[in-house]
């Protein structure tokens, strides 16, 4: 990817002016106020609301993309076509019940949708949300425990001084988190608290500062189209 030093077309120039203008405006709004004349914060929030509204349309495109991919899976009877049926049925049934009977229902006061339909749909939505969605999501999340165990077993090796320090610190924090370990020796939680409060905080801050500087430079370079 070489530096882009070509002359900009008019369209590219216009786009770059918009990028710079919006970026500069949002930066200024954070630091400067114009009291009594215009509420810059309200203007920026309104702009953001418009942008969000436009971007939200992309959700519909995402659903269309998903539907298209899995429809062709089913039509061409690809290897996992049965799962595609389950996906599409789940997607559209949850969509329908959420529109009718969720906390974000379109017509909670039954102005258009018959009250009987809402009454029928509400326990179904409750079941799908609390008994199915919450539990499935939690199950996938809980796979992390197994992955962490296998990753820790595989990766924590005292191959060098740095990895040994990492290993020892990691083990001490894990021990400090286990309530039973504190019953064996109360020092584990004291050591854990110290590691979390000092080396961990220091490391987190260092990475945060570096990342923040990276974001600032990256953003400014995008705004002024600075060639790499």
């Amino acid at each position: 990817m070489s530096s882009d030093k070509k002359k900009m077309t008019r369209g590219e120039l216009g786009l770059q002016v918009i990028i710079f203008g919006l970026g500069f405006f949002y930066a200024i709004v954070y630091y400067v106020a114009v009291p009594g004349i215009v509420d810059l914060q309200a203007v920026s929030d309104q702009l953001l609301a418009y942008i969000t509204a436009v971007l939200t349309a992309a959700f519909a495109i995402g659903v269309i993309n998903l539907t298209r991919v899995h429809y062709f899976n089913i039509k061409r009877k690809r290897a996992t076509w049965r799962y595609s049926i389950i996906l599409l049925v789940s997607l559209f049934s949850m969509l329908v019940f959420s529109v009718i009977a969720s906390p974000f229902a379109l017509d909670p006061n039954a102005a258009v949708i018959p009250a009987g339909v809402i009454q029928f749909s509400t326990p179904i939505w409750d079941f799908l949300y609390y008994k199915v969605l919450v539990n499935i999501n939690s199950s996938i999340f809980s796979l992390l425990a197994f992955f962490i165990a296998s990753a820790a077993y595989r990766a924590f090796r005292a191959r060098s001084l740095e990895s040994t320090i990492l290993l020892v610190a990691g083990l001490l924090v894990v021990l400090g988190q286990a309530p039973i370990a504190d019953l064996i020796w109360p020092g584990f939680s004291i050591i854990r608290d110290w590691i979390m409060a000092f080396p961990n905080t220091a490391g987190q801050r260092g990475i945060l500062i570096g990342a923040a500087l990276g974001i600032v430079v990256f953003s400014v370079r995008r705004m002024i189209r600075y060639p790499w």
Binding site: F104, S138, F146, A149, S150, F156, L171, L175
Partner: protein, 284 residues
């Protein structure tokens, strides 16, 4: 040699690790084992902060986690909400995550509300849809959240008449699964209006929030389900109730066992590694 065979098996087929871990977690849960939980300083800080709030102070609870972390953060939400209802405090429930409002309702269905009345002592204001609302609420709640989750006009609720703006709140507690809500509240509410903020976070996110706690921007920080068990212990000591209310205490033995297993596996793997290295050096 036996070490080498087992070590190689564990490394090449992680399913053995998974089976051992599964057994170590499920056996304590099925046998209902229990263990006392030492109290962390960050958990105690939040508990004492709430205990020291003057009567009739307003506390805002924000449900900013998805359904996937319900096992980790829901117990925290239950015990903290229970403490708030045991004290003479007013509570508003909001959410920066669309999943938040039904989860707040689920917590309200679980806790013992005593003689607290909806609309007078607590209310669920629902989802905060954008940053404009987040920024505006400290100045006027009903202007930015006109309806609660029961479709009542918020301006008509006695609790909102008493506290028309969030800047009158004495504490904001966010249960956050990715630290974005924590940073939002610290930036917009704590930074501008000096409203104290506390966070209940998952085990992977909480260490990243320690800089905020260390600098005083957070008044308390709850680490995962263990903090919920610690909270149950604190409530039990003070109010002689609530042990087991969130299910957190019952999982502490399983949690401890899984941690100790990971430590044991890492030590075992390193022992096998060093023995293997020494053996190969000798063979050379």
């Amino acid at each position: 040699m036996r070490n080498g065979v087992l070590a190689t098996s564990l490394k090449s087929d992680p399913r053995l690790v998974y089976v051992i871990l599964l057994l170590v977690i499920t056996v304590p849960l099925l046998t209902h084992s229990a263990v006392a939980v030492p109290i962390s300083p960050t958990t105690l800080a939040l508990y004492q902060f709430i205990q020291n709030l003057p009567a009739n102070s307003l506390v805002v609870e924000s449900f900013d986690y998805a359904t996937s972390v319900v096992p980790e953060l829901h117990p925290q939400a239950i015990v903290v909400t229970q403490q708030l209802f045991l004290r003479p405090l007013k509570v508003l429930f909001v959410a920066l995550d669309p999943n938040g409002p039904p989860l707040a309702d689920a917590v309200l269905d679980t806790v013992n509300k005593g003689n607290k009345t909806y609309g007078v002592d607590y209310a669920n204001l629902g989802f905060i849809p954008n940053s404009a609302t987040l920024i505006g609420m400290p100045l006027s709640i009903s202007e930015f959240l006109p309806l609660d989750t029961h479709n009542n006009p918020t301006a008509s609720l006695p609790i909102i008449k008493e506290f028309p703006a969030i800047k009158l709140a004495s504490l904001v507690i966010t249960f956050d699964d990715d630290s974005s809500a924590a940073y939002s509240y610290v930036q917009y509410w704590e930074g501008r209006y000096n409203i104290p903020v506390a966070v209940g976070a998952t085990a992977t996110v909480a260490p990243g929030l320690m800089p905020l706690y260390s600098s005083g921007q957070l008044v308390g920080l709850l680490f995962s389900i263990r903090a919920a068990a610690e909270y149950e212990e604190l409530l039990s000591q003070q109010y002689h109730c609530c042990l087991g209310i969130s299910g957190a205490s019952a999982s502490m033995v399983a949690l401890s066992a899984s941690h100790l297993l990971i430590v044991a596996m890492v030590v075992f793997a390193n022992a096998a590694y060093f023995i293997g290295r020494r053996t190969s050096r000798r063979n050379k």
